[in-house]
């Protein structure tokens, strides 16, 4: 039987040739080497697929899949997760990058939780467009009651999440994002509905998160310049 990597990172991407390499590069540079990176190219027209293919033609831990027609980020995550070899899935966004110990910390968390239906969450840093930190999010435990009652999210960083593939399948994966709902919000709702837990670990900042003007977050909440302004670095 083929060896399973300890974690599969799934990166959906579309027309982000100028950002995706930094994301994939940070995953392949993890201290934990026994990982795989799956990129699902959601019908990019800017050369993303060609660039990644050329760059990583000799990288065994990397695989890329291509949607001829765009199906959206959520559905692309589903496709990537279906292709994953590991039982453990790490969620990624193509415009973010990750600290070198993300895989190590995540795997460690799940070590004694093989039978637990839990989603991993951790602190993140918001960075500006040249990668300098501009805001820290120390994070806290997900407030399930608040979410159930009011649909309120006290803290949740989607691109640092990890979960067992089995739980993902039970929940039914992601739906297409709509004008009202992002893919991650829907997924979390389904996850909670299915009676599964969301844990919070007070770790290092594992994700370096950016908000692009074209990102879903900006689309839903309106783009705010303080999300990217780099004149006041926090560290």
């Amino acid at each position: 039987m083929e060896n399973k990597p300890k974690i599969s990172f799934v990166v959906p991407t579309k027309d982000r040739i100028e950002w995706v390499a930094e994301c994939v590069g940070s995953l392949l540079a993890q201290t934990e080497k026994d990982i795989e990176v799956i990129v699902v190219d959601d019908g990019s027209k800017d050369g993303t697929y060609e660039m990644l293919t050329e760059w990583l033609k000799d990288e065994k831990r990397f695989r890329i899949f291509r949607n001829e027609e765009s199906i959206g980020a959520g559905k692309s995550r589903n496709r990537g997760t279906a292709e994953a070899k590991s039982d453990l899935i790490g969620v990624c966004d193509d415009d973010d990058f990750y600290s070198v110990n993300r895989a190590e910390v995540t795997i460690n968390f799940f070590k004694d939780k093989e039978d637990k239906a839990v989603m991993f969450n951790a602190p993140y840093l918001r960075v500006n467009y040249t990668g300098d930190p501009i805001e820290m999010f120390k994070g806290e435990k997900f407030d399930v009651e608040g979410f159930k009652k009011f649909g309120r999210v006290n803290y949740f960083c989607h691109p640092v999440c990890a979960y067992w593939k089995g739980d993902f399948d039970e929940v039914g994966g992601y739906n297409s994002e709509t004008d009202k709902l992002t893919d991650d919000y829907q997924f979390v709702g389904d996850w909670i509905k299915a009676g599964k837990d969301i844990a919070f670990e007070d770790t290092d900042y594992l994700c370096f998160h950016r908000v692009l003007p074209t990102s879903i977050m900006a689309k839903h909440r309106g783009f705010r310049e303080e999300w990217v302004r780099g004149d006041k670095p926090v560290c």
């Binding site: 100028e18 590069g25 800017d46 660039m51 467009y129």
Partner: protein, 560 residues
Amino acid sequence: MTELRRDPLISFIVPVYQVTKDMLKRCLESLVTQDYQNIEIVVTFDGPDDDLLPVVGDYLKRHKNIKVIEIEHAGACAARNAGFKASSGEIISFFNSDYVAKPGMAKLWVDTLQDHPEFGFAYGAYEWNSSNRSVYWSKEFDEFELTQANYIDCGFPLWRKHVVEWDPEVKSLQDWDFWIRVVKNGVKGYYLTRDISFVAEMPRPGGLSMDSHQNWVARVKFVREKNGIPTTDMVACSIGAPFHGSKMAQMIGCDYDDGDHIIMKPNDYKALYMIGFFMRPADVKNMHSNILGKFKDKKIIIHYIGADIYWLRKFTTEELKLISGVLNRGNATVLCETELAQKELKDYGINSEIVPIPPYTDLDIKPLPEKFSCAIFLTDKSNFDKYCQKETLSIVRALPTVKFHAYGDACHDIQYPNMIHHGNMTTEEWEKFVYKTSSYLRICRHDTRPMASDEFLLAGRDVISNIPGIGVDYIDTGGDPEKMEFDPFEIGLNDSYWPDTKKKIVKAILSAKNNIRSEADRRDVRARLAWDLDKQKYKDLINSFIEEEDKVLIGGECGK
């Protein structure tokens, strides 16, 4: 070439004439306490001195490696020559009796000379014994610049075989005369950069150095004429880009000064050619205005280069009126390098003519390297990130399939698998560097006409830049005047626009990689540029400005 590593004897020749006991004691003490053992000290009395002899006597008792000789008073040069004859070291230092060696100096000198056998002498910084211990840092070795002014103190060490006789006819600037003749024999100097070798006493009132200040023009002329260095009517000067300034001066055939001498000393030049000219509102002291003050009745040519114009934005309208008033005066000619710069200057009320500065290299079209690569410029030489270090590095991270070759003084600690950092280069290394790469990326928050961009184009390389120009693959980062965004460079680099700009840059680089331009196309660009950047044309133009009749002073038209 020198032999294998060993401990050669170094002789310190210390001429003694009218110093205090304390000074002499301090000097000798600093030499005998050096942690390098194989030294010899030749104390040469320039005329008998009964007060000072006992000071040396004390040392003679305790140290075997001290020699004392005495000549009839004939000046420092004669004393040094006599001391040299009496010495036997393989390495010689003419160390003044009012100098104090820093600990480790001798070892540093000997090690440096042995480590760099292609250099005949080593030189560098020294400290003044002033209240603030100011340092004279000296500068990188350049043969031409040594013919313009001295930057090598007499105390610095050279191999015995390179020593030339000190000329007693030269009354001041003797060390300048000495080093000119050493260097004329083909000997090169190694610059010790940050290491300060010794502490020197400030010039004494009534001493020769002070006299040389008063009679500076005549003294300089004497040394120059003696060494066959032609005198010229114009001096070129550059504060912001001294390396370019010196090369431009050589291209034009005029004198060069890095600012120190024309501010501090008198001169009899007819014209000043200021290469680069910036004033910042916050500057309390501005070297450029000091220099202009020295030439207020003479011809002044001011060439706006690089990001000079950027700083004009920071002035108020009233301040700009004053500046443009001075620059539009009859004795000043303002030059810039591009139409865009001319327009910007015009907006600030300054009239200018377009004269591009040609590169001093002779690059020609050569075959592209087999594997595509892209050169980038990383520099800190600015008080903010004017040359877009961070943005440039983010492009490197975005394109792992492209090999990047970086140059410049910044980001040496940054390592990316697809980037090699070459640091600062000599002109020869630079030419090889240009031929080794296929393209050049240059983005900035303000610039006029980077010489590097021109050089890459002349060599048939692609240039991707947000500075428009002939043959440039232009990334427009300018603002939209409709939205009251008048900045020609910076808007597209701002946070809200950078993702779009970044995409354009990434696409432009990949397009250069995937669609190689034909050689005919490259030759066409080169031909158009070469006409613009003809060296003789430039030389004639600049020289013609000296002859130009003063324009009539129009007081009322100052400013906008």
